[in-house]
Structure formats: C-alpha cells, structure tokens
C-alpha cells in the first residue's frame, strides 16, 4: 500500500523509546506563490527572511498572552512527552509536545530573552536559520493542534497555540502549506472547502430530497437560501457528498422535518470549516467566519445551528461571538451558535422525536470524542456536556453502545491523526502512524464487545478514519456520523 510500516496494535499501550529523526522526512507540499498571495501572504521568500520571521515572532508574542506565557513557563518536566499520538505512533522525539514547542522556543529565547542572548548554548537557544525553518515546516505540520498535551501540562501549555504561531510566521515569509491554503482560497473564491458552486450544491440537495423520498416515501426538504427560515444550518461541505458524512446531513434534515422547524442552508456560507485557525491567521479566521454573519442577516434567521464538524465547532462555539458577534439580531432564548447534537438532544428531551432504537440493532456502536469538541468547546450548560450530549443522542438511537477505555475518551481522547490541516495524501504516513493510539483503543472494544460502528461528529475524523481503518485491518465503512444513527432510528410520519 505504501512505503512505510503500519504500527502494530498491542494488548496494552506502550510508550515507545526515542528514535531520533524517524519522521524528519515528512513534509507536506508547499503552496505555490499565487495561493499565498490570495490569502494576503508574500509569494516569494524575502531576502532578509530570517529577520522578518524573528520580527513576526515578536509581534505574535506581543499580541498573545498565551504564546508569551507558554514560551516562558515550560520547565521541561516531561509530563507531556508521552501524550502526543504522533509521538506514540512514530517514536520521533521531535513529536513530543515539549520538543515540538522547543523548535520555536529556542528561537524565542535567542532573540527575546536575556539568558538566550548571553548564553545560547546553555539554555538551548538557536539562531533563525534555513535548517530551523525546514525543521519548523516538517514538525509543525506533524501537530494536529488537538490540545491533548495541554490537558496534561501543569501550566496548561497548549502546543496548538505554538504550532499555529509557527505556521503564521512561515506564511508571513511565503512558506505556506498547499493543502490548507488552497482550501482557504476556495472558500473565498467559491464558498466552501470542496469548491462546490451554488448550482452544484442545489443539484446535490435536490438529489438528496429524491433519495430520501424514494427510501421513506416522505417529503423531507433540504432547503437552500430560504429567506425567513427559523434556523440557518452551517455544516462542513463534506456533508454534501462525502461518505459517511452525507448520512449525517440526511439525519439533520429528518430531525428538522419531524420537529417541524423551518431551516435552511446558505450558498453564501456553505462551509462550517475554517482552516484559517490551523494556520493561525486571525485576519483570515475573521474573514471566513464573517460570511456566516452575512448569511444569517441576509436570510433573516432566528437561530444558527452547526453541523458535525470538530474544529468548526471550536471556531463557532469559542470564537464566533468574538469574531462575528454580537448576535443581537438572533433569538436570545437559544445559545448562539447551537450544535446539531444539542439541538437534537433538546428535541429528544422534549419528546419531539420518535426514535426506534431497534432500527440500528445490526450495529454495536462506540463513540470517538473529536479533539476540538472535547478539549476546546462545550455543549449544553454543564462542563463536560460535550461528552454527555452526543452519547445521549447515540443511546437514544441505538441499543448497543460501548465506550472505549477511559484514557482514550473524553478530554483524554486521541486525535484521529488527520486534524489540524494534515488531512492530505502527501502526509499519509503521518496520518496512519498518528492514528495508532486511537486504533489500539478501538481494537479492544472490537474484540471485547464486537463493536462494528465508530461514531464521530467531525468531518475530518470521518474522512481520516475511512482512509486509515483499512491499514489496521478494520473495514473502512465502520466509521459513521452520529446523525447517521439518528437518521436510521427516526420514524418519519409518526410525529409530524
């Protein structure tokens, strides 16, 4: 299949010994100059790029308390060293969170601390050089910004913040990653990550209406740009045609149908994903998110609901109010934004949905907590609602459910291996190896409980698992949407 070995799955988790340089060759494709320029970055490496990179680092530290505190506070205690799925899967020591941070911290110390200016060798400070830049490009594209390390750090140091900053610095001197930057460019030029123009989108949705009608005999609508609808649904564009994502979208539509709530998608904002977060660019983060405010105002909706997408939910939950708020034009009785799982959960609580669990009796389900949902957001009113609510929706839709081992779920969940802008074929080795800890936990519930359905609420997780499951001898169609389960269980024509 490929030019590398898939890591073995073991009986018990094993922390690998350090093998320096095993992933030094891993580098994603570099973005072409026109891609860079479209996002407001320079197209060519400037002559004094070292100086500019160092200057940009200083600016970023000045405008982010997180970055400053994180760069100053690490004591190298080692608590994070066995927490990153990429370290566990590759054994490359530069994939230990602290070592990854040190790639940038060493430069910060050299130019912005007294000890680093005076005694660089002593404190591990380094000049900004081509070698350092190459190392940044390689290893800051081996971080999925999943924040697992930040859960375990005694100071809460979040490597995601450091890798976002590093990518932003690299972009500022023209060194960008093709996959992320091409996608952000598509959102600006066409409206979504997949480059699906409005007519194609409308066509797809019409097709879905026919499919559901054929299957159930019920007229379930998939409305687009419907002014005056109550709810605007913002979902990752993968939901429009990728498998298994699309079953989720069908699930949302059926829930809205049975609840009798008018909803709409928007062709102007046909994308929940916001890859600008991955590259740490707050100008682009704002610009991508702003389309959603425009769409909500234009369509005159009262609520915004976000579909199954991990990092999009982080941006929506944690950043939207800051970036594109205040939402004083929406109905104050509902949280803005609301997650589709919160929405469905509320309806279940109120008895508004008729779910027949036995429709899913062919499935034994486990649930993968997506990192950005688990460690960077919330659902409901209670801390930890992001763990409770999706599971409650699943349990309302299936009879057989088993959680994976405690160290691999909730806030300790392992990344799928493809988050943070790494879901590209040029990083396949990294993606497969990074999935090892999750696959290992999955194997245990497969063997112990016969689990055959891995439910997730993240478009990246779904695509990643569909691709890497076969490497570990699992069927690729094992991965599915939470709302795919709802879609099967919901009894249309019984409540409406």
């Amino acid at each position: 299949m490929a030019n590398f070995e898939t890591p073995a799955l073991r009986e018990y988790p094993v922390i690998p010994l350090v093998h320096a340089g095993t992933m030094a060759h891993s580098k994603p494709f570099v973005a072409k100059p026109d891609l860079q320029k479209a996002l407001g970055f320079p197209g060519e490496l400037p002559e004094n790029w070292e100086k500019q990179a160092v200057k940009k680092l200083g600016e970023l530290v000045d405008e982010s308390r997180a970055l400053r505190v994180f760069l100053d506070s690490c004591v190298k205690c080692g608590a994070c060293t066995d927490k990153c799925h990429y370290y566990l899967g590759t054994s490359d020591p530069k994939n230990m969170p602290v070592a990854r941070q040190d790639l940038l911290r060493s430069v910060y110390r050299r130019y912005y601390t007294l000890s680093g200016r005076l005694f660089p060798k002593l404190v591990g400070a380094r000049d900004m050089t081509k070698e350092v830049l190459d190392e940044w490009y390689s290893y800051f594209h081996q971080c999925s910004q999943c924040r697992r390390c930040s859960v375990f750090c005694p100071y809460g140091i979040d490597t995601a913040e450091i890798s976002m900053a590093a990518r932003e610095i690299m972009d500022s001197i023209s060194v960008g990653q093709k996959y992320c930057n091409e996608i952000i460019g598509k959102v600006f030029s066409i409206g979504n990550n997949l480059g699906l123009p409005e007519p194609a989108l409308r066509n797809t949705l019409d097709g879905l209406e026919e499919d559901v009608k054929d299957e159930t005999g019920v007229d379930v609508k998939f409305p687009l740009d419907e002014k005056g609808a109550e709810v605007l649904v913002i979902t990752p564009s993968a939901d429009f045609f990728a498998e298994p994502h699309i079953d989720g979208l069908i699930g949302y539509a059926k829930v809205f149908h049975q609840a009798g709530i008018r909803w709409t998608l928007s062709s102007h904002a046909s994308e929940a994903a916001n890859f600008s977060m991955f590259i740490g660019s707050h100008e682009n983060l704002h610009k991508v998110a702003f389309r959603i405010r425009e769409a909500a105002l234009d369509l005159g909706v009262k609520r915004i609901v976000v579909g199954e997408c991990g990092h999009a939910w982080r941006v929506a939950y944690s950043f939207w109010n800051t970036l594109i708020g205040p939402f004083d034009f929406l109905d104050p009785r509902y949280p803005v934004p609301q997650h589709i799982c919160e929405f469905t959960y509320d309806l279940i609580q109120r008895g508004a949905l008729n779910l027949d669990k036995s429709a899913n009796d062919d499935k034994v389900v486990t649930y993968h907590d997506s990192c950005n949902v688990a460690r960077a957001s919330r659902m409901g009113t209670m801390p930890g609602g992001q763990f409770i609510i999706p599971r409650a929706v699943i349990r309302a839709s299936v009879n057989k459910f088993h959680d994976m081992e405690p160290g691999s779920i909730h806030e300790s969940t392992f990344c799928c291996g493809g988050g943070g802008g790494l879901l590209t074929d040029d990083l396949m080795e990294l993606r497969v190896k990074g999935a090892q800890p999750r696959m290992q936990a999955l194997k245990h519930v497969v063997e112990d409980h016969g689990v055959n359905y891995l439910a997730a609420i993240c478009a990246i997780c779904k695509t990643q698992f569909a691709k890497v499951l076969p490497y570990y001898q699992f069927p690729m169609d094992m991965i599915g949407s939470v709302h795919g389960l709802v879609s099967k269980a919901i009894q249309l024509g019984t409540k409406e």
Partner: protein, 246 residues
C-alpha cells in the same frame, strides 16, 4: 567592616532588587499582553468562582500533573511543599521577635530540607533515566537542579554537621533590613549557601522559574468557559466592529 560583609551585603541588595523588580516586570508584561480569543482547555469551569477553584487545585495539588504522570507529580509535590516549609522556617532569621507560628513550624521546616533533596534528586534522576526526558533536558535544566540541590545540602550541612554562627547571621540580615549592615560570620559553608541563594534569586525572573507566576496567567487554565454567554474581546479582537446588526 570586612570585605566579605560588604560583598554579601551588596550581593543581597542587588539580588533582591533583581528578583522583585524582575518578577514585577514580568508579571506586568504578562498582565498587559492581551488574550484575544477564548481558549480554556475544556471541560472548564463556567463561572469565575469555578476558575478560582481550578487554579487553586493546580497550584496546591498540581491537578493536571497528577493526571499526567504520578512520578513527576510525587517528586514535584515533595520538592515544592518541602521548599515552602523550608522558606517559612527561614523567616526566623528575618524577624525579631520571631512569630510564634514560625517557632512552631521550625522542626517541620528543618526536616523538610531532607524531603526537598529527595524530591530534587527524583526529578533529576528522571533526566538521566527516562530517555524522553533526557532528550528534552538542556544544560540549564541540569544546572538549575544542581543549584537547588547545592542550596539544600549546604543548608542541611550547617544544621547537622558544621554549625554556623546563626546569631551572627541573623544580625547580618536584620541589619540589611534596617539598612544598617552588620558583620557577616565568615563561615565557608554559610558563604557558599548564601552565594547560591543569591544566584537563584537573580536567575529567577529570567529563567524557567517563571512558571511560578506564569501558571496564573495561562489562558487555558484561567479563562471562564462562557464564550456564548458573554462576548469576549481583547487586543486585536477588540478592534473588530461588525456592521449590520440590529
């Protein structure tokens, strides 16, 4: 007044200014640097009071470290609490009359010195034994531990092996506090102990020891998880003005 006394008097005035001034500057810089986005590591408290609780748990029982690694936690907590007891015990050399609770605390503080060494050696041992921690250790990380171990050992030596002129020492420090320097006993072990402590004070605000104030400013730990309920803006995000609302 002897040269040694003059040198140490100046050293401690300088060390104190660097420690207090340096830390105050760093805290000021931390406080002034904006946190433009909400980034608490969730699940996080949804109220300010909850955040105070989370922070108290972090700095008293090292909650996150406990979740992470029991060995680092054990050695870390032994070292930090022993250090606290030792520092409190040392208050007797700077107060006259000595506060009664400091008198009661004396035996704990004295024996805590041994615990402190155990904790430090545990942490240091990991830097050799665990290959991952060996990989991430810089020379400065070893030197910092060496400095702390040397401070603890020289202190213990004065208590249990070569008794020093503790009355004279106390007069020296009370003199410094009242800007009326008194002679310092020229005992070699004492001079080493004091020189190392002054070094630690000077290094503190420009080293990784900044983790002490840093943890209180860490946005992943000190932010309230309420971005939907309350619009958060700071720094660059404060300059966002979105048109078209009501």
């Amino acid at each position: 007044m002897s040269t040694v006394t003059i040198i140490y008097a100046v050293l401690f005035y300088v060390a104190t200014v660097v420690l207090v001034g340096g830390l105050a500057y760093k805290v000021y810089v931390f406080a002034c640097t904006p946190a433009p986005l909400k980034i608490p590591t969730t699940p996080a408290p949804v109220t300010r009071l909850g955040v105070v609780g989370r922070m108290l748990r972090e700095v008293t029982v090292f909650e996150s470290l406990f979740k992470s690694n029991k060995w680092i936690w054990l050695f870390g907590i032994l070292f930090h609490f022993a250090l606290l007891l030792v520092l409190l015990q040392h208050l007797r050399y700077f107060t006259q009359p000595v506060w009664s609770w400091v008198v009661l605390e004396q035996p704990f503080g004295i024996y805590a010195g041994f615990i402190m060494v155990v904790g430090l050696l545990g942490l240091w041992g990991r830097r050799f034994v665990v290959d991952r921690v060996r990989y991430i250790s810089n020379l400065s990380d070893h030197l910092m531990l060496a400095l702390l171990v040397a401070i603890a050992l020289s202190g213990l030596m004065m208590k249990f092996v070569f008794h020093t002129n503790i009355i004279g020492l106390k007069e020296f420090f009370l003199g410094l506090l009242s800007f009326n320097p008194q002679p310092l006993p020229a005992d070699p072990v004492l001079l080493v102990h004091l020189a190392l402590v002054a070094t630690l004070m000077i290094v503190f605000p420009m080293s990784k020891l900044l983790h002490a104030p840093g943890v209180f400013f860490s946005p992943t730990r000190n932010q309230v998880d309420n971005p939907r309920e309350q619009r958060h803006v700071a720094g660059w995000s404060a300059s966002i003005h979105n048109p078209g609302g009501r």
